[in-house]
Symmetry: C2
Subunit: 234 residues, 2 copies
């Protein structure tokens, strides 16, 4: 093992913040400091260095950086695929522990964060540029979200408080990029047991809609039997 820190890489956390706003997915970016050694003043994913004197865990690193640098606490987080190499950061050998973060009303208001439509980063021909390997991270995050929107109730985390089933369905439709059949969607959600009726209702356009809330604790429910994990049937 190395006796000094000389050969240690830079260790960072990067956060792909996603929210649903105006019927579309948006990515949250922060402007890097004007005196940053690299990519000064450029919009980038929020994140920061692991600091062993401040954090108990890598999860702490994420939350500390998001709280201090953008003033938000994600409603939910998912670990993405780590990466580490000599080239991703001009400052030197670095490792990133990337997170996908679900942002909703409970996450707080941020002055520092700027929101951009996710679509401009998914375009195959001319995606908006991002520093480091942040474009790859954004795409990886969406890829995960997209797949989970098919089989899990994780997208529920984009909503908080009381909401209607139509509003929830819209969340899934935005992520999946296509219309869903109402009855099928309701059956899925019903089977998942991920939400519960608040007892209240509200008038939506020309009809009365029941209100629901996410059940606590919110589990990552997978719909399909075929996706059930190990340990449950042998």
């Amino acid at each position: 093992m190395p006796d000094s820190d000389y050969n240690k890489p830079i260790c960072t956390v990067d956060a792909v913040l996603l929210r649903i706003h105006n019927a579309q997915l948006e990515v949250g970016l922060v402007k890097r400091a004007d005196d940053a050694r690299v990519y000064a003043g450029v919009l980038a994913l929020p994140g920061g260095f692991v600091q062993t004197d401040k954090d108990q865990s890598i999860n702490d690193t994420l939350l500390r950086n998001l709280k201090s640098k953008v003033g938000l606490t994600p409603a939910h987080t998912v670990k993405l695929e780590f990466d580490g190499n000599l080239s991703r950061d001009p400052e030197g050998w670095s490792i990133t522990c990337p997170y996908l973060c679900f942002i909703n009303q409970t996450s707080g208001k941020s002055e520092q964060l700027h929101w951009f439509p996710l679509s401009q980063f998914l375009a195959e021909d001319t995606p908006t540029a991002l520093p480091f390997d942040h474009l790859k991270l954004v795409r990886d995050g969406f890829f995960r979200l997209y797949n989970r929107a098919k089989y899990s109730t994780e997208p529920n985390h984009f909503l908080n408080g009381a909401f209607t089933l139509s509003e929830l369905q819209q969340v899934y439709e935005i992520i999946l990029g296509k219309a869903l059949h109402k009855k099928n969607f309701r059956d899925r959600i019903d089977e998942s047991n991920s939400i519960e009726a608040t007892g209240d209702s509200k008038i939506v356009k020309r009809s009365r809609a029941q209100l629901f809330a996410n059940r606590q604790p919110m589990s990552t429910h997978f719909f399909s039997r075929v996706l059930q994990g190990a340990f449950d049937d042998h």
Copy 2:
């Protein structure tokens, strides 16, 4: 950012080596150095420190450590979920980038590696102890393998050269812990296009069986339509 390396965590790679031997899954462990500062002489997952002067990438770190410390090169690797905290390593704040590694005949012969049945680490009541958080990593690795044995052809990597469909089926059965229907399995593999007939055949017990080989490059084919990723249908 930190001006010194003082607050940097230890960065390691840990490898969950799996092979199929005597009709069961086995985990490869190495005995830690007798003069190691912690867990000296104890059996543990192979791995090592990221060394920025030797490695171009985290993948290099993995391959360098496996080559030098156990003398093997995995047939295939999959990134597992990163973790980092103050407590997993008695030496201090550390981050692990864990890999699941598929070992087969092409991986080479190792003097240093000791193989143990995976089952003894999966037992819910009295699993064999492992240092650090290595037990968790082993279980996470198997969990991934188990799930992928249902929908992908990744388990093919446990075989090399020419093999029969029955041999391949046995691999999947060992991972899934249950018998599979021959015709269904063959249809799955056929649809996946992951293997090709070598043209040769061999006599197995009382019948002649066709020989197959993994197709190059070997893609991680997912069987079910429902598991198809984003970007393919909109």
